[in-house]
């Protein structure tokens, strides 16, 4: 794959926190206009990798490029083209939903007309109209998540990084996000997402990387992963459990149930 076709390119990227190695020698190329999914148990390095791509964490070694921009040298340029939904969103709770989106739109330099059109469109799509003038402190977890997703989409990013984006969303909004990801892909937007719901990853992602203890265990299209695991008729969950060595859960459940 050529450099221009890659939206994101990681070469031998490692990151440690004290004695814990969160990511080990990770190589990754994500093609522009695709949906890339990170799967893995808690603490496998998914969020750390996404934070490094976003420029929030500095890799101890290796190289990271986003649309040809070196993340470590020019994080500001990267931020301009990326929309990010963090694992635990933190909002300015004293602002109303509308004020928060207005703030984000201003930071990305949207003009008044675009800002108005996009904010109204998204508020309507996510069923937040009539609630937009309430202070965020009174929002439910799902409503906050919707605001964060809208904020990430407002400037029409070239790359979307979604860390557990569907957490707390109602079924309708979750469906909207999934459909939106497909639509954005058609518009050549690249999406990287982590998810624990494997059916969703199976349905949404063009390519999946299974992470375990900071390393990439497998990478490919869902069908390729089935083939690689020699489990052609299995669900992604079964493949995931096999690859991560956590398929012996029957004994655990029995022990817990005693």
């Amino acid at each position: 794959m050529s450099e221009t076709q890659s939206a994101v390119k990681l070469e031998k990227v490692s990151k440690s926190f004290g004695n814990i190695q969160a990511v080990k020698n990770l190589d990754l190329q994500i093609k522009a206009g695709t949906v890339f999914g990170f799967l893995g148990p808690n603490g496998s390095g998914k969020s750390t990798t996404m934070k490094m791509i976003m420029g929030l964490l500095k890799a101890d070694s290796g190289a990271l490029n986003v649309y040809g921009v070196d993340v470590s040298r020019n994080p500001w340029e990267v931020k301009k083209i990326v929309g990010y939904v963090p694992e635990s969103p933190r909002l300015y709770e004293f602002l109303t939903g509308l004020e928060y989106l207005d703030f984000i739109a201003d930071v990305y330099g949207l003009d008044a007309a675009t800002k108005k059109t996009r904010i109204e469109e998204y508020l309507d799509a996510f069923d937040l109209e009539n609630r937009e003038n309430e202070m965020i402190s009174g929002y439910s977890h799902g409503m906050k998540q919707k605001i964060v997703i809208i904020a990430a989409l407002l400037h029409k990013p070239k790359l979307l990084i979604l860390d557990e984006p569907l957490s707390g969303l109602d079924p309708k909004s979750a469906r909207i996000v999934k459909d939106l990801i497909h639509k954005l892909t058609r518009d050549d937007v690249t999406t990287i997402m982590s998810n624990h719901v494997l059916e969703i990853a199976d349905a949404v992602c063009d390519k999946i990387a299974i992470m375990y203890q900071g390393s990439k265990l497998a990478e490919g299209k869902p069908a390729e992963l089935r083939k690689e695991a020699q489990m052609p008729d299995s669900t992604l969950e079964e493949i995931f459990l096999k690859l991560t060595g956590t398929n012996d859960i029957k004994e655990i459940v029995e022990a817990l149930g005693k």
Binding site: L56, Y92, V107, G138
Partner: protein, 546 residues
């Protein structure tokens, strides 16, 4: 016989947890202390050392420090005042804790879904406050007891302290009642009002904070004490004064009244305890509420006048966000209340001092209150400017904001109100003092130089030592940051004020008056530039990769 519905072991454990949450809220690093400091027992130890030490010191040296006062009379006033003061102090402390607690914490409190009885929580909460205040109580109670020994009124001292403890519990129960009621009332109130709610809440918090700061002021408290002694005899119908009246009756050897007031005080405390438990049971879980600031209408984006002042859209957005936070966040009210209280304190003595002020310097010195208020506001706004972002600082890291834009907007947020206030104070000074042109230039340059220094130094220190923790309390700045900031700003103010003072008192002989503002302005520019570079460096570390 009905079993007492109280698990004492659980109460003690929970009190320890609640006290720990207060103690550890001070730790900016998030590290857990080891050894003896990890337990609130340290506070009890401090109490047991502070009490005898303060008692010993006061019994030997009270006369030296309170020279000119009739020590016996002073002690009697204090002894009567202590029980009511303790009620007031614990109410104030409790409310202060409530105000500084991050708004998002209340409903996430785990005690709301654990099998803990209301009475157990109330006792634990009260006990945790005692733990937390123990060192302070050790000094205060010890000193009072020491003075009672030196004036041979140990019995009165002991009685006053016992009623003081009772008064403290009365205050703590009152706080529990207030907390439970506000859970309910504020929820219904906030639902109905909207924008007015934000204004009313701000005025209420502001009033309380100003009152708290005034009460904490020694001179003001002494004035209250005088008033209190004159009126307490006629205030028998106010229950929170009953412990003080019991002490007063003891001094008058009216034993029946002592018994009556003691029984009434204890009865009142029991009623309050019962009420606080019942209210806790009824309004156990805070009702979720939301504040709708305006009715849904068509959204029209506004550029505002900040754009026309030369700020970029991103900077203007950040300034608007911070100014909204200043009026809407209860944790921020203290930064408005503090300067306001400073101005009020100075106003108490302004009229009498003005009459006796003979020189221009004397007259100018009388404006220290409002001036300090303006400087403190600017300083604390920038000192806490980065930390007040809390966990939401992540927003500033993921959006394409340059460090310079953050600096400009944070400075503008602090400077815009304080600059206007300083213009008003300076105009007021000129109207009253009527300075000649040269002197006016010196005053204007010096005052505005100090204002800029306060703002820049505050931001430099605030960006170096921000405290993003919001749970259990939002502090915005690490303790060492506060001390360092205060030290630096004191040095800067001293340096900037030095030239006009040197001129006024001819310390280095005569030099032209207008040289003074040139030196002050030059110093200000240098200090601000150095602070700007330091802030830029700190923000680069904070916003870029880690």
């Amino acid at each position: 016989m009905r079993k007492i519905p109280l698990n004492f072991k659980l109460v003690l454990h929970m009190a320890k947890i609640l006290a720990l949450s207060s103690v550890r809220a001070k730790r900016a690093t998030g590290s857990v202390p080891t050894g003896f400091a990890k337990s609130p027992k340290i506070n009890i130890l401090v109490f047991s050392v502070a009490f005898p030490a303060a008692a010993l010191f006061a019994s030997n040296f009270a006369g030296v420090f309170l020279k000119g006062l009739d020590l016996s009379m002073f002690f009697l006033q204090i002894a009567i005042f202590i029980p009511s003061l303790m009620t007031l102090a614990s109410v104030m402390y409790g409310l202060l804790f409530e105000f500084s607690q991050s708004s998002s914490v209340g409903s996430a409190d785990i005690i709301n879904w654990l099998p803990i009885k209301a009475i157990e929580f109330v006792f634990a909460s009260v006990l945790s406050m005692t733990y937390f205040l123990a060192p302070l109580l050790g000094v205060f109670f010890g000193a009072t007891f020491g003075i009672s020994v030196s004036v041979n009124m140990m019995d009165v001292g002991l009685l006053s302290l016992l009623f003081g403890v009772l008064g403290m519990f009365v205050g703590a129960f009152l706080i529990e009642i207030i907390r439970a009621i506000t859970n309910r009332v504020s929820a219904s109130f906030y639902k109905r009002s909207g924008r007015t709610t934000v204004a009313i809440r701000m005025v209420l918090f502001l009033t309380f904070m100003v009152a708290f700061i005034l009460v904490s002021n020694g001179n003001f408290l002494f004035a209250i004490l005088q008033q209190f002694m004159g009126g307490i005899g006629n205030a028998w119908f106010i229950p929170i004064l009953w412990p003080s009246l019991a002490v007063m009756s003891y001094l008058a050897a009216e034993h029946l009244q002592v018994l009556l007031y003691t029984a009434s005080s204890m009865g009142f405390a029991i009623v309050l305890l019962w009420a606080s438990v019942k209210l806790r049971e009824k309004y156990w879980v805070p009702a979720p509420f939301s504040i709708k600031l305006k009715s849904s209408e068509e959204y029209t984006p506004k550029r505002g006048f900040l754009g026309s002042l030369g700020f970029t859209a991103a900077e203007a957005a950040l300034i608007r966000k911070d100014l909204r936070g200043l009026t809407r966040r209860k944790e921020m009210i203290v930064w408005i209340a503090l300067p306001l209280a400073m101005s009020l304190i100075s106003l108490f003595s302004f009229q009498s001092s003005w009459a006796t002020a003979s020189t221009t310097i004397d007259k100018l010195a009388l404006f220290w209150g409002p001036l300090m208020g303006v400087f403190m506001f600017a300083f604390y706004m920038t000192l806490t400017g980065i930390g007040q972002e809390g966990g939401a600082f992540l927003n500033l890291r993921v959006i394409p904001l340059k460090e310079k834009e953050i600096i400009r907007s944070k400075l503008a947020t602090a400077l815009s109100p304080s600059f206007c206030a300083l213009v008003a104070v300076t105009a007021f000074i000129q109207v009253l003092v009527q300075l000649r042109l040269e002197a006016l230039i010196v005053v204007i340059v010096t005052l505005f130089a100090v204002l800029f220094e306060c703002t820049f130094v505050g931001l430099a220190v605030g960006s170096r030592f921000p405290d993003f923790n919001e749970v259990p309390r939002a502090r915005f700045i690490e303790q060492k940051g506060i001390w360092l900031g205060m030290l630096l700003i004191a040095a800067c103010i001293g340096f900037t004020f030095a030239p006009p003072f040197l001129y006024s008192y001819h310390i280095f002989g005569y030099f032209p008056l207008l040289v003074a503002p040139v030196i002050s302005a030059t110093a200000c520019i240098l200090i601000c530039y150095m602070c700007y570079l330091a802030t830029l460096n700190s923000l680069q570390k904070l916003t870029r990769q880690s």
